[in-house]
């Protein structure tokens, strides 16, 4: 099993979720995060002082999938989340050693 971590632009969430559902992935966990990267934040002004909002709102998707699905899933995410503009985000793949479904005690690929 692998864990796919994708950092994407928030307004792409709906689309990515639907695209993943289309290939049968129906479990994921979503976190609101802030990203810092090449996409520089905007300068804002509050009561006359400028400041840079360095950290931009992003969405992190965490999806644990069987090894066989990883490649396809990553490809789908990359395709769907792409706008071509800076700040589109990253996809990382990490190894997972075990997975358990709490409700049923099922383990491994069956659990995800």
């Amino acid at each position: 099993m692998k864990k796919i971590e994708a950092i994407i632009k928030p307004f792409k969430l709906e689309e990515v979720k639907d695209a993943l559902a289309d290939i049968g992935i129906e479990g994921m966990t979503v976190t609101e995060v802030k990203g810092f990267g090449r996409q520089k934040g905007h300068t804002e002004i509050y009561r006359g002082s400028e400041y840079t909002v360095d950290f931009l709102p992003k969405i992190k998707l965490e999806i644990v999938v069987a090894d066989s699905v990883v490649e396809n899933a990553v490809a789908i995410i990359v395709k769907t989340a792409k706008t071509g503009k800076i700040g589109d985000g990253k996809v990382f793949v990490l190894p997972v050693e075990e997975a358990v479904r709490i409700r049923t005690d099922e383990k491994g690929d069956k659990a995800v």
């Binding site: 928030p10 307004f11 609101e32 995060v33 802030k34 905007h42 300068t43 804002e44 002004i45 509050y46 709102p57």
Partner: protein, 478 residues
Amino acid sequence: MKRFWKYLLTAALLATPLVATWAQDAATPAAPAAEAVAAAAATVADAAAAAPAYKDLEAFAGSPGYAIFTTNNLWMMLSTALVFIMHLGFATVETGLTRSKNTVNILFKNTLIPCIGLLTYAIIGFNLMYPGGDYAGKWFGFSGFGVSVSDDIANLTDTYNAGYTYWTDFLFQGMFAATAATIVSGAVAERVKLGTFMVFSTIFVAISYPITGMWKWGGGWLNALETPFYDFAGSTLVHSVGGWGALAGVMLLGPRIGKYSADGKVRPVLGHSMPLATIGVFLLWLGWFGFNGGSVLSANPGLTSLVLVTTCLAAAAGGVTSALTSFVLLKKPDLSMALNGILAGLVGITAGADQMSAMSSVIIGGIAGIIVVISVLFFDKIKIDDPVGAISVHLVCGIWGTLAVGLFGNLAGMAQVVSQLKGIVSIGLFTFIFAFALFFILKMVMGLRVSAEEEIEGLDVSEHGAHAYPDFQAAAEK
């Protein structure tokens, strides 16, 4: 969508001359009716010149009429304060029913509108709306720029009016004026360009609102119909006017991104704070004590207290029926609908608050509460995307309330219904065309809508470079 407004526009253009003739007919034979209270303001500005004045203010203070005049004026000043706080009500309702990424933008608009409204009303609006007796029965009048008291003694005593001084008159009317523009603000929220909207509001409140206001309250042609059009505190003159402006804006803007799915299904865009929305509705209700109560134009005990009763009962009935209607239609008791229902009841009773029995006011408010729910669903369906329900509350229930004057209460009768329709249609046409044309021109010149990117990011960042809730920012910026 496109077809819808094309149709409306055509209809409007065709109807204008028609209505004009019709109104002219009515105006010719009828002498300006002397409606005891509501229209008293009409012939005021010049009355002062003619009437005998007190030697000086001391003399007035010693006169037998001083105490009651002071009391009347006091009531009008407090009504002014209450109408003022409605602007905070509008600000919080609109903020609460929209997303947090557009909060600064809405607050900015709703803070600046009463400021601009008061200033333009001082410069031009007041004298457009109350040009004086020379223009009685007319379509238009103007008595010069600025406000000032040329003749102290007359304008600050009951020579000016039995109920208030010149200054109170101006301020009370000025607080009303900005309301119309504020109504528009809610409907076009979350996508309209700030600059464009500010220009629109300024012109709308400076010119359009006072002109149609003059038709009735300024002693103009609608007031001079044989059976005069009746609009006690502004179901049509204030609320529908705002509602027509809102409709024009929304039609030209189109719906917010995400409001309709690709296959055309309605998707809700959730307001971000129900406490703010609720605070707003209570403040509006409170303000209506002055909006309607002050429209008696004196502290007349019987009339003012009746007006407060009809106002509150209509609000209560609207709240209850809209909650029930939303429960029946939508299976859940919807808070935002109950809130809209209270406002619907208030708008509904506004045209006839001084003419109704307690029972009639309950019926009028109760029907408004049902209408508003159906109207919100209807406008959503025809893709008129109005984030706060302003069109349903102010335009639809404003029309309902104006009609209700012909159906219930002291003035009920066919002739009155006809006069009410004349008022509704003529003011509607003028305002809608004015607002549509103005928005259209501004769209060409300045642009009307922010870019899709700016809309997604939120107007707070794109228009103001600011956040409404920086501490909770991550969550806020979906």
